[in-house]
């Protein structure tokens, strides 16, 4: 289906999220939509899929102007959107989710639906178990289920919003192959992303949004030089990426030391861990979702006690001492879900500093606000000391979380530190973390994004099926080798060599 928008405008209060957009997307192709956070990508996609209605302008499907009153209307017209977190029903099985409120006449019976699903799954190369409950699946698998549901419900246009956030490299490869297949069958795919490499790899055309407008007007055919696209996305302020520099070895005592540690979490058994994590370096944890990275981070943060063995922080035995003792020893943990586990959405930055005050009964508001103002200046957070954290953007929330880490911290554990951030925000976060590293912190982070691991780590630790590999210096590792290790290729040999 060919879709087009003409002079599409959407305002939220004083902000013009989409400013007289005119662009069209041809059938049978994958169209990239690029732009940094807040450029208007999400607004455009929500308008196209009926979640919000335009103030002005019109949406045209196959030369027919359409008024979409809701996402149901859009799907009936053939447009389906896959949200970043798929809009499925977690308590349902894959099959129930597919049948729930399906358009009338699409599936004649449960059996027919199952056959259609398995058939499509095979064509797209997605492994799927119709009886599995969705809350047992990873985000990547749920995304595959959602794509198949939309296609089976008659979507001719598939919109994907940042689809590679939170999924593994292997799942991304499977997704790309499936999207190519879907486009080859004559459907239209809109691929919304801020990752240039992915758009370059996958898309036939690209549309760049900046400040709610298409720059330059209309679509560009791919490929385009990366520098040019970056300049379009960020205007002239697009900074050059930092250059990787090897780090000299530091003879400081290790921040963490694990001695014969065995730990169990759910189905994962991490057995006989012996590791020393030295100060002054950034260590990246690579691996498929749920290979043991999170357990390791929680172990080092003191949130999970080992079943056997010892955990030493700065040379002190803190085995089983609990997260508070770990924090007092200078260990900070930044969870992936910032707003859920990391900060308190309704409180402001000043309130968060006030929470850290330990002395006396009363809150020293002046001091807390002073610290908050200092943090805002130092970390360039777009907020006032009294803005609720929940109303900040993801990048600013992450910066606020970093700002709350006391200068005395010796070890920082970060779970997906740049999840959901655009390129500029991610770089800002990383420059902060690197400054901490240069001050002598040991930073351990996990990320599903191999490029991020390769770009920022001094050492890489590969996790595979609950086994933790030895640290590999970044200089000795290539992207291809890392991708192999994550999949388990050559992992045993690596562990043997380390022994």
């Amino acid at each position: 289906m060919h879709i087009a928008v003409e002079n599409l405008t959407k305002r939220f209060g004083p902000v013009c999220a989409n400013d007289r957009l005119t662009v069209s997307f041809a059938a049978g192709q994958i169209h990239g939509v690029l732009g940094e956070n807040g450029a208007g990508k999400s607004t455009l996609m929500k308008l196209l899929s009926g979640y919000i209605q335009p103030d002005e302008g019109r949406i045209v499907f196959n030369d027919m102007p359409r008024r979409l009153r809701g996402p149901g209307d859009a799907l009936a017209a053939g447009v389906g959107m896959v949200q970043q977190e798929p809009l499925d029903i977690p308590a349902f099985t894959v099959l129930e989710n597919l049948l729930c409120a399906a358009p009338p006449g699409v599936f004649r019976s449960r059996r027919a639906a199952q056959i259609a699903l398995l058939d499509l799954a095979e064509r797209l190369g997605f492994p799927v178990d119709p009886a599995a409950r969705l809350d047992q699946l990873t985000i990547g698998q749920r995304q595959q289920v959602e794509i198949m549901r939309l296609l089976l419900c008659g979507a001719q246009v598939l919109i994907l919003d940042e689809p590679t956030t939170g999924i593994t490299a292997a799942q991304a490869r499977a997704l790309f192959a499936a999207l190519r297949q879907i486009a080859a069958e004559g459907r239209t795919v809109l691929f919304v992303s801020h990752k240039l490499e992915e758009v370059a790899e996958l898309c036939h055309t690209v549309t760049v949004l900046r400040n709610g407008q298409v720059v330059p007007p209309g679509q560009l055919p791919m490929p385009q030089p990366q520098e040019y696209l970056l300049a379009l996305m960020f205007g002239d302020s697009g900074a050059a990426p930092p250059i990787y520099r090897p780090l000299p070895a530091i003879d400081a005592p290790p921040v963490w030391e694990l001695r014969n540690v065995t730990v169990r979490s759910g189905a994962l058994h991490l057995v006989d861990l012996n590791h020393r994590f030295a100060a002054g370096r950034i260590i990246g944890l690579a691996g498929l979702d749920g290979s043991g990275q999170q357990v390791l981070l929680r172990l080092l943060a003191g949130q999970q006690a080992p079943d056997r063995g010892q955990v030493l922080v700065n040379g002190r035995d803190l085995t089983g001492a609990g997260a508070i003792a770990f924090r007092q020893a200078g260990v900070e943990y930044l969870p992936a879900d910032r707003l859920h586990d990391g900060m308190i959405g309704a409180l402001s930055l000043a309130d968060h500093f006030a929470l850290l005050q330990r002395n006396g009964l009363l809150v020293d508001r002046r001091r807390a606000e002073e610290l908050a103002r200092q943090a805002i200046a130092d970390y360039q957070i777009k907020a006032t000391p009294v803005t609720p954290i929940a109303s900040l953007s993801g990048g600013n929330q992450q910066r606020a979380m970093l700002a709350l880490i006391p200068p005395t911290a010796r070890g920082i554990l970060a779970e997906q530190p740049t999840r959901g951030l655009d390129v500029a925000s991610a770089r800002a976060i990383w420059s902060r973390l690197q400054a901490r590293r240069d001050d002598g912190c040991c930073i351990i982070f996990s990320s599903p994004d191999l490029d991020e691991i390769m770009e920022y780590s001094d050492e890489v630790i590969v996790c595979f099926a609950g086994r933790i590999g030895p640290p590999i210096p970044r200089a000795l590792l290539s992207a291809g080798r890392l991708a192999e290790l994550i999949g388990g290729v050559g992992f045993d040999a690596l562990v043997d060599v380390a022994r």
């Binding site: 979640y51 809701g70 809009l87 029903i89 977690p90 729930c100 409120a101």
Partner: protein, 328 residues
């Protein structure tokens, strides 16, 4: 032995209003709306149903009026919580108090007036079956209806596409909205249908189980139904089992009253409530994460059956229960 079957049949009969009300509440809570007005609604509907049946001489009209009252209270709840976005629990609680007092006030002329009652209608042939006949086929139509409504609710929720939508409304309304379903309209429909059942349950008290009308006629049955729905895990069969357990406790309590004449009657009247809450709490405790962790430390041989049992017992609330839905 025969006495046991007769007692059990009495339990099945005594639970009939509870079962009907519990299925109504299960339906609306599965769609994500807590109808906390349940006890008040039952009282008001019981009074109205009795008054209408008494003045018109028509039982069916009485039940219809009771259903209408239940639906009307549910509509008021919907108006405040679904349309105006107020807290379901707060509005529901106020409605419960309001309806309770309204039933006492408006029902004053009908207190202890003898009135019509649902006739005993054994089912021919089936009633003569040994055991089964005594248990299931020597009752009146309201009790037969309470038997049928359990599988009907279970089938609706788990066997039909409508049921998928109902459950999805309580789990993740945003996902249902994305599929083109009008969340608010559907929640209204389920809330009102559930409210009508609660109303009928009220009339089942005043026109059948506890014939007539008096102050606080249902004696807090609505509140225990709310607890049973929660601890029954919002699953029709388990919820029904809870209702039968409570009815059994009540019957045991009345029997012990005659056996222990010196024991204070107040304690005996309240005992079933306390015992019920205690049983429900035990069941829930056994399926808590803490019990799960404790079980995980046991030797392997014990672990599997124990964890299996805990998983079977575990009841998770509909994820969006009580939460307002706003169109994005």
């Amino acid at each position: 032995m025969d006495q046991l079957w007769i007692d059990l049949a009495a339990v099945l009969a005594a639970a009939s209003p509870l079962v009907i009300a519990a299925m109504g509440e299960t339906l609306s809570e599965r769609a994500g709306v807590i109808n906390l007005s349940l006890d008040g609604t039952m009282l008001l509907a019981a009074m109205t149903g009795f008054a209408v049946a008494l003045t018109t001489g028509n039982l069916l009209l009485g039940f219809a009026a009771a259903a209408l009252v239940g639906a009307a209270v549910a509509t008021v709840l919907g108006l405040f919580s679904l349309t105006l976005g107020q807290s379901q629990t707060a509005v529901g609680f106020v409605l419960a108090l309001l309806c309770t007092d309204l039933s006492s006030f408006l029902g004053a002329p009908f207190v202890r007036v003898p009135g019509p009652a649902v006739p005993f209608t054994p089912i021919p042939v089936l009633a003569d079956l040994p055991v089964l006949g005594t248990l299931f086929f020597r009752h009146d139509p309201v009790i037969y209806a309470s038997f049928l409504i359990i599988p009907a609710t279970a089938y609706l929720l788990y066997g039909t596409r409508l049921g998928l939508i109902v459950r999805a409304l309580g789990e993740r309304p945003a996902a249902v909205y994305a599929r083109g379903v009008d969340v608010t309209r559907w929640r209204y429909a389920l809330l009102i249908a559930g409210g009508a059942l609660v109303g009928i349950a009220g009339a089942a008290f005043s026109l059948d189980l506890k014939q007539g009308w008096s102050y606080r006629h249902t004696f807090g049955a609505g509140w225990i139904v709310l607890a049973i729905v929660i601890f029954g895990g919002w699953r029709p069969w388990r919820v029904a089992l809870g209702c039968y357990l409570f009815a059994a406790l009540e019957i045991v309590a009345t029997r012990s009253q005659s056996a222990l004449p010196n024991f204070p009657t107040q304690i005996i009247q309240v005992a079933p409530f306390v015992l019920m809450i205690f049983v429900l709490a035990l069941v829930n405790l056994a399926s808590s994460p803490a019990a799960m962790r404790r079980a995980a430390t046991l030797p392997q041989i014990w672990q599997r059956p124990l964890l299996g049992a805990i998983n079977r017992l575990r009841a998770t609330a509909p994820a969006a229960l009580g939460q307002p839905f706003e169109r994005p």
